[in-house]
């Protein structure tokens, strides 16, 4: 019997993932990563309440549940990274790093070393092998609305065969129905939306505690002072609200100049980029095609682009100008349903 270690956050998705695997006859154990996040509400993944929820689900399913300490990795590779990136004027994506270093890094290493054949999570994504052999690919799941492949491009290609996404062929509604039928207490639990370590999604307040905010000028492209900012780290590319400037046409953040402590604003047309350069590249196929569909933010639609991959860097050219190409965010490349790979946007090409 194959053994599977299931990462359990205490939410409905990972709970149903564990339940489905158990039904399929795998020998499984549930693990919750303790991230040491101190939040009063403790409802987000990693809090005491979440750990209790996961444990209750495991008890009902009839599997062991364990909590492993990932607080050091979390502090360094997720929270530390998040703060460093903001300090550099970039807009990071901590969930990508959490997947890369924690779930599909150290937790996968645990699974392998503790004698498990697979690691499973409750992500909406799919891994299949066309030939039934070792040529695994990462694909979009059945539920396109919940597609989480954008956050998963950083899985190492050679690890794809070690990972199971049991929710690949279920919609969120189906998952909730399964949870209800199986009498899992988390069936109705509400979705976590924000970044788990930031209370109520208030980035600015969180960053204020971590990085010294130095107020400075908001300028336009000609260097004319348009207003004052509270500290560059509190802004992101494309941001329109909260600038505190009245202007006859809408103004957007189009650049963050950490060196000179300035936030640059402009009109909608100034947000446009014709391409980008990404580093920290991870490929899930042997070689990139010359054309692909690119997703430059989780909430954005894909757009076709020309791809030039070289020396661990991806250069992308957009036939149609793109808005808000944001350094620090990830660009993920697709061929239809297949995830080709991606990287972290280093700069936008105007």
């Amino acid at each position: 019997m194959k053994k599977v270690l299931v990462a359990m956050s205490g939410g409905v998705d990972s709970s149903v993932a564990a339940y489905l695997l158990k039904e399929q006859g795998y020998e499984i154990a549930g693990v919750t990563m303790c991230l040491g996040v101190k939040r009063e509400d403790a409802a987000a993944c990693c809090g005491a309440e979440a750990i209790n929820d996961a444990r209750r689900v495991c008890d009902v399913i009839g599997i062991g549940h364990y909590v492993l300490d990932f607080s050091k990795e979390f502090d360094k590779d997720v929270v530390g990274y998040f703060i460093d990136e903001y300090a550099k004027g970039r807009t990071p994506n901590p969930c990508v790093n959490c997947n890369k270093y924690l779930k599909f890094g150290q937790l996968l290493a645990y699974a392998k070393s503790l004698g498990f054949d697979y690691l499973a999570t409750g992500h909406y994504a799919k891994i299949i092998s066309a030939s039934g052999g070792n040529d695994f690919v990462l694909k979009k799941p059945k539920d396109r609305k919940k597609d989480q492949t954008y956050f998963l491009y950083c899985i190492k290609k050679e690890d794809l065969g070690k990972i199971i996404f049991p929710l690949a062929d279920y919609t969120k509604e189906e998952v909730r129905a399964i949870a209800k039928k199986a009498k899992l207490s988390v069936a109705e639990k509400k979705e976590s939306q924000d970044i788990c370590f930031i209370p109520e999604g208030d980035y600015a307040a969180y960053l204020r505690d971590k990085i010294k905010l130095v107020p400075g000028d908001i300028v336009n492209l000609n260097g004319k002072v348009m207003g004052k900012h509270k500290g560059v780290v509190a802004y992101t590319i494309g941001q329109r609200q909260g600038l505190g400037i009245s202007h006859k046409t809408p103004l957007y953040v189009i650049g963050i100049d950490v060196k000179n402590n300035r936030v640059v604003v402009g009109g909608k047309q100034d947000l446009l980029s014709s391409g980008l350069i990404a580093d920290n590249v991870n490929l899930l196929v042997d070689r990139l095609p010359t054309a692909a569909a690119a997703k430059i933010r989780y909430s954005f639609k894909e757009t076709m682009c020309d791809v030039f991959g070289e020396n661990g860097i991806i250069k992308i050219n957009f036939p149609h100008y793109q808005e808000a190409v944001t350094p620090g965010q990830s660009v993920v490349l697709y061929d239809g349903d297949i995830v080709l790979g991606g990287g972290v946007i280093r700069e936008a090409i105007k």
Partner: protein, 394 residues
Amino acid sequence: MSDRTVYLDHNATTPLHPEVKKALSEAFEMYGNPSSLHRLGREARAKIEVARQDIAAFINAKPEEIIFTGSGSEANNTVLSIFSCSSKSHECSCFSRKDVMTTTIEHPCVLESSKCLRDKGTCVSTLRVDKDGKLDLDNLGHVISDKTGLVSVMTANNEIGTIQDIKTIAKMVHAKDALFHTDAVQAVGKIPIDVRELDVDFLTFSGHKIYGPKGVGAIYVKKGVPFCPYIHGGHQERGRRAGTENTLGIIGFAKAVEMRKSEMLTETKKLLQLKARLKAGIEKNIPDIKFNGHPTDCLPGTLNVSFEGTEGEAILLYLDMEGIAVSTGSACASGSLDPSHVLLAIGLAAEFAHSSIRMSLGRDNTEKDVDYTVAKMAQVVKRVRSISTAYSKK
């Protein structure tokens, strides 16, 4: 999942002794309320009083000095609560001196109770232990005063097994005219306990740590010592603990105690041998480890060990999959990352405490169990260390 079960968690709880099972099954039909005057009530009452005599005799107490409770935790809470009582009722004979002293390594039911006392205004001090978990007697001597009402020191520690010099401590406490309580949940039935010899005022213990049923504990209260009930509302236990008696539990408790009387000494010999084998096996096969607790003044079946550069719960996970039941010094399940307060109190670094495993042997364990555990333990420690960033000597 392995078909094999190697249970090494006897300090958490124990399986029922076959004789206890038998006694319980014979008593199943008995449903009378021991407070009732009719025959059914009398029958139950008689069983309870016989049980009380047997249990009292086991620790050299008088039957009227034993109060049955619902658990060891309730027993401990009861004793500590006496020192926050401000009742003027004539039924309440509380001690006028209220300050309470306890130690850094007590069971949470004592520590949390004393925290609750502190919140209510009682002056609570916490006494130090040394690196083996032994109470610092000088510290006790300095801190104890003529305001001290109660000193509470556990006889044997549940995590590291260290046994205190209760007789000496009780003497020091009595020299200051204070009262002395010992939480002997891990001690009664595992090591000889004689309340007269130790000269304690309160001693608390429970049934499920010695192959008896869960849900029953007891307090020894020395005759003449002030007492005040924690649960009010009935004349049961001579007005000292209200609530219909757990007849079955008490019968099982007494049977468990009876079995300890005949089996404890031979079992102790066996457990010491098994523990020595376990310890030697671990020492021989696994580098960079540390045994925690006192090397000799220790419960015969308890072995606590830290494996540098590992996480206790990862080891537990693997052993669990292999059918071996142990426990760990980390408390991640509560969402906090604070490791065991006991291991911190004996001076272990948090990371080392986090890498600890407690094994507590019992009457059914065999040499084969021990050898199997050592083999699996060596395997998992090596594997976990190979991916650990905290283990330097890869």
